[in-house]
């Protein structure tokens, strides 16, 4: 029984892993996303049966592609409507071959996956649709899993996916890696979608599996585009961030970097992240994701908060700001300034961006921490209260409530004294 369960789990894992590869290749063969998805689903049904007795084949993705392709073509030949469609599909397939694309159809082609990612993350699709398509088609999540990740019903998510695929077909969103001239911008939007998936998982423990999905996607992007250091940078950024997750909360409350138990950080992830960052530094083609990864690498390198190389972090934020002159980067830089130049300098830097980030809880939290260090207790309390009002997650709100409580406790004896003297 246990053996069956284990084999079943293994099959599910393989399905998820090969889904995107197989769908990507079959879209090229058949020229239609839904048709390719149905063919892969059909091959999975066959696989469940065959693999149970014969075991998982050495090249499962190749097996699925071949089976899906052969069964789909057989099915087309059998129906009249299918014969018509088959002729059209032959045209698609032969034009693909005509373009010098005459590879053996036996297995998945990594170029196909890249094409699919760029199609899913096309800027003509709204961002929710980009994210949903990427998770479903590239990530191999079931419709139900994607739906749960975005807190919508399965039928609502199915509709969303149908609408997105309809637009791809109707508007002829191309199935190809963008031309060199458009690549940097288009790659940025692909990487942002993956990072958004990661952060969606970071905000909510219920959706934590999105973080590993995003890391898996970034890992394949980095492998597929070895000449794009930003893809590697995104992978390193997420690995280094993920390495600290075990220490980031305690009893459902956020634990600040300063107070984290660093022995609970995941050393394997840190080592992999560090190796990627070092390779990026050697390559010397910096970009926003690589710089953010480098900042995380400096944090992960320190044995304690005090031992952190803060001047290095400020320098990296300066560099990052030259790529991304956003108030959020300025906020993080201001927090680092607090460690190199003290809370006074940090407060000046925070005041400069306060208006831009008035609705961002982390800006008010940073102000609260800085004001407390400067001994301005009432202003600090007001800032934490505003932050708690704006915070989106339970862990953040608990942390902020704790800060407010501490300020009140700190304040009590002094008020008592002043009462006594007056």
């Amino acid at each position: 029984m246990n053996r069956t369960v284990a084999a079943h789990r293994e099959t599910e894992r393989v399905f998820r892993e090969v889904y995107g590869q197989a769908v990507a290749t079959l879209i090229r063969v058949f020229g239609d996303i839904t048709f390719a998805e149905d063919a892969v689903q059909d091959a999975f049904v066959v696989a469940i049966d065959r693999w149970r007795t014969g075991g998982i084949p050495p090249n499962p993705a190749g097996w699925i592609v071949t089976t899906a392709r052969n069964r789909a073509i057989d099915g087309l030949r059998r129906s009249a409507r299918g014969r018509e469609l088959h002729e059209q599909l032959e045209v698609v397939a032969s034009t693909a071959r005509g373009r010098g694309d005459d590879r053996e159809e036996g297995g998945p082609v990594s170029d196909d996956q890249l094409r699919l990612i760029f199609t899913c993350c096309h800027p003509a699709l709204r961002i929710e649709h980009q994210v949903a398509l990427t998770l479903r088609l590239v990530g191999g999540l079931s419709v139900n899993e994607v739906a749960r990740s975005f807190l919508v019903s399965e039928s609502a998510m199915a509709k969303r996916l149908v609408r997105a695929k309809y637009k791809i077909r109707a508007a002829k969103i191309p199935y190809r890696v963008p031309a060199e001239a458009d690549l940097p911008e288009r790659l940025r939007s692909v990487l942002s979608v993956v990072y958004l998936i990661y952060n969606t998982g970071g905000d909510d423990p219920e959706r934590a599996s999105l973080r590993s999905d995003a890391i898996r996607l970034a890992r394949s992007l980095a492998a597929l585009m070895p000449n794009e250091p930003e893809a590697a940078g995104l992978l390193a950024l997420m690995l280094l961030n993920e390495s600290r997750m075990p220490a980031r909360t305690a009893q459902g409350t956020l634990v600040l970097l300063r107070d984290q138990d660093r022995t609970r950080w995941d050393r394997t992830m840190i080592e992999e992240g560090h190796a990627i960052v070092r390779a990026c530094v050697r390559r010397d083609r910096p970009g926003p994701f690589q710089l953010q990864a480098a900042i995380q690498a400096v944090h992960c390198n320190a044995d304690s908060f005090e031992a952190t190389d803060w001047p290095q972090i400020v320098a990296l934020y300066d560099h990052l700001f030259s790529f991304m002159p956003t108030p959020v980067v300025a906020l993080n830089r201001a927090i680092a300034i607090g460690e190199t130049e003290g809370p006074g300098a940090a407060l000046t830097a925070l005041d400069a961006i306060a208006a831009d980030l008035d609705n961002y809880h982390l800006m008010h939290a940073a102000r609260g921490t800085t004001l407390r260090r400067l001994g301005q207790r009432d202003a600090a309390k007001a800032a934490f209260e505003r932050a708690a009002h704006l915070a989106a997650t339970e862990a953040d709100r608990r942390f902020l409530a704790q800060q407010i409580e501490e300020l009140v406790e700190d304040g009590a004896p002094s008020r008592h004294r002043s009462d006594g003297s007056g």
Partner: protein
Amino acid sequence: MGQYLLSTYAVEGEVRGAPRTPEEMQAFMGRVVALEAEMDASGTFVFGGALHGPDAATVVRVSDGGVVMTDGPFAESKEHIAGFYIINADDLDAALAWAGKVVDALNHPIEVRPFRATGRVKDSVPPGA
């Protein structure tokens, strides 16, 4: 190959970014003429035009077996199509590249929509097939 509608909208009769002075008008015409020449040279241009405002529109419908006409546009809306191009393009990326040039020339946002079918219904040919 597909065909796409690139349309500009007027909001309450005004096309945002439209030329206001004779000098602006001259520069605008120069840009549009150059753009259309480029479209012609590449076989992109199918048709284009500028429309009169919604006040010039008439709606025709059948009611009680007879044809009834009403003054005014079909949709009670602040936005109305002011003009459009119909272009040939291989795919959305190609259409969007032309849309970018149109936006530059007109200084006004445009909507890009693919045609589901074009030509006479009896021919029933999807665009470009």
